[in-house]
């Protein structure tokens, strides 16, 4: 891989993460800086994702750069059978940066090997989504004042949740304690638990989403429990309302607790939570802009 691309969260050291977060904080102070004047970025979205794409495009625009790209592979030569390699090589002729989302796992890594232009992975199948993890880390640091020694409770679909798996890796540098709250069908896979064991990260697992757990938590990370993921639909019916956060469940929680969600949310966070000062999921999405600006400058070697 060309050394500047960002493909996977596990390629970032603790030092890299802190540097990017520090820069994101500078961008939050002022996101409009002419650092990308004269530069062109390509957003190649082979799979749709409005939120991530708009976030990246805004990031480039507010830094004075220009954006070209596509949102749907069916309008490109991919539909004629052009290989990914050829598409990347062709685009590399025109731009200084490639931001890519693809439905195949490993696509971003392959792209980063095929071109000298830096590649930012905006999501490859069920594999990695490093900019989401960085905005999650930024949100955690901002609301807690630090990253170290926090208790993070993850709720919902922990089996297929790309963002929770990535967050575990990202947080592993900072001595966390995890609580995993999920129905049996969607519990945290062995791979992630083995990772925690390897890194001496303590964790607890349970199926009950109780106020007890919430009251011991600093960051409450909610994810959606999807019907499609269940092989046993009776099980889904039993659990579909169990992993929903309602405002009254926060009554005994810590002052510093914040509720995060990678969005979009459906019903797992009740609307009565929105007015709580502890609801942070909207600001979390806003932090995506700053985190992505920091990532873009990092891969292009631009100092802030």
């Amino acid at each position: 891989m060309n050394s500047k691309s960002l493909v996977s969260i596990d390629q970032l050291s603790e030092k890299d993460i802190l540097r990017i977060l520090d820069n994101a904080a500078k961008f939050e102070q002022n996101p409009n800086r002419p650092l990308l004047n004269g530069k062109v970025a390509a957003t190649l979205f082979f799979e749709p994702s409005t939120r991530t794409r708009l976030s990246f495009e805004t990031a480039v625009n507010r830094l004075g750069g220009r954006v070209v790209g596509f949102q749907d592979a069916s309008t490109t030569s991919s539909s004629k059978g052009e290989t990914l390699k050829d598409t990347i090589l062709m685009v590399s002729n025109y731009v200084d940066l490639i931001i890519m989302r693809h439905y195949l796992e490993g696509a971003a890594r392959y792209a980063s090997e095929v071109t000298d232009v830096p590649v930012i992975n905006a999501g490859d199948g069920a594999n990695q989504h490093p900019s989401q993890t960085m905005l999650d880390l930024y949100s955690i640091r901002k609301t807690q004042g630090r990253l170290n020694d926090l208790t993070i409770t993850m709720v919902g679909d922990l089996k297929y949740g790309r963002t929770v798996h990535s967050l575990i890796v990202g947080m592993s540098h900072f001595n966390p304690t995890f609580n995993f709250v999920a129905p049996d069908e969607l519990k945290m896979p062995d791979e992630q638990k083995n990772f925690c064991d390897l890194h001496h990260i303590p964790y607890n697992e349970c199926t009950e989403f109780s106020e007890d757990i919430i009251n011991q938590t600093d960051i409450l990370y909610m994810t959606r429990v999807q019907r499609e993921r269940f092989t046993d639909l009776e099980e889904y019916e039993r659990v579909k309302n169990v992993y929903i956060l309602r405002n009254k469940m926060l009554r005994g929680s810590r002052e510093n607790l914040r509720v995060l969600h990678p969005l979009p949310r459906v019903n797992e966070i009740a609307y009565d939570v929105d007015d709580s000062p502890k609801a942070y999921y909207i600001q979390q999405a806003r932090n995506g802009l700053f985190a992505r600006q920091a990532i873009i400058c990092d891969v292009l070697g631009i100092e802030i």
Binding site: T83, K85, Y110
Partner: protein, 155 residues
């Protein structure tokens, strides 16, 4: 008399490579791995011979062919205990075991249908993350596969 008959089962070669102590069920996979269907060298293959150590074993002799170290080391993926003999002038000039490499390129198929390697014309690449258990991790989609699930790509 029986000794002579046993020896005739697999003739000696003048120069070349001998792979011995092959578990019988892996023999043809190894032949595939080495691309033997494409070579014009004289090949002798024997299987299910009685072996003191293994019970039954297979042997492959390829005349006038010498392989690169990494070509042979890949055998360790499915048969870590084979013995390699390099023959010159009917003499064994080198005898060694195979060591699992750190990386395997272009040999093993990724069993994730959504991996880019199964959808683009490109070689696969796996990191050996556990040499003891023979666990591989796809460099692209990051999925892990066990030794038992390894599928050799037909070139």
């Amino acid at each position: 008399m029986t000794e002579k008959k046993k020896e005739l089962l697999v003739a000696a070669i003048e120069n070349g490579t001998v792979i011995d102590h092959i578990p019988p069920e892996q023999l043809f996979k190894i032949a595939l791995m080495l691309g033997l269907e494409k070579t014009s060298s004289t090949i002798t293959i024997g299987n299910n011979f009685i072996s003191g150590e293994m019970g039954r074993k297979g042997v492959i002799k390829i005349a006038d062919k010498f392989f690169e170290e990494d070509e042979l080391d890949r055998i360790a993926l499915i048969a870590p205990n084979v013995i390699l003999n390099i023959i010159r002038d009917y003499e064994v000039v080198e005898k060694r075991t195979v060591t699992l490499p750190d990386e395997v390129v272009g040999l093993v198929k990724c069993n994730n249908p959504k991996c880019v390697t199964n959808n683009e014309p490109m070689p696969t690449r796996f990191e050996v993350i556990d040499k003891e258990k023979g666990t591989l991790k796809c460099h692209y989609c990051e999925r892990k596969i066990n030794k038992e699930s390894i599928i050799i790509k037909v070139k």
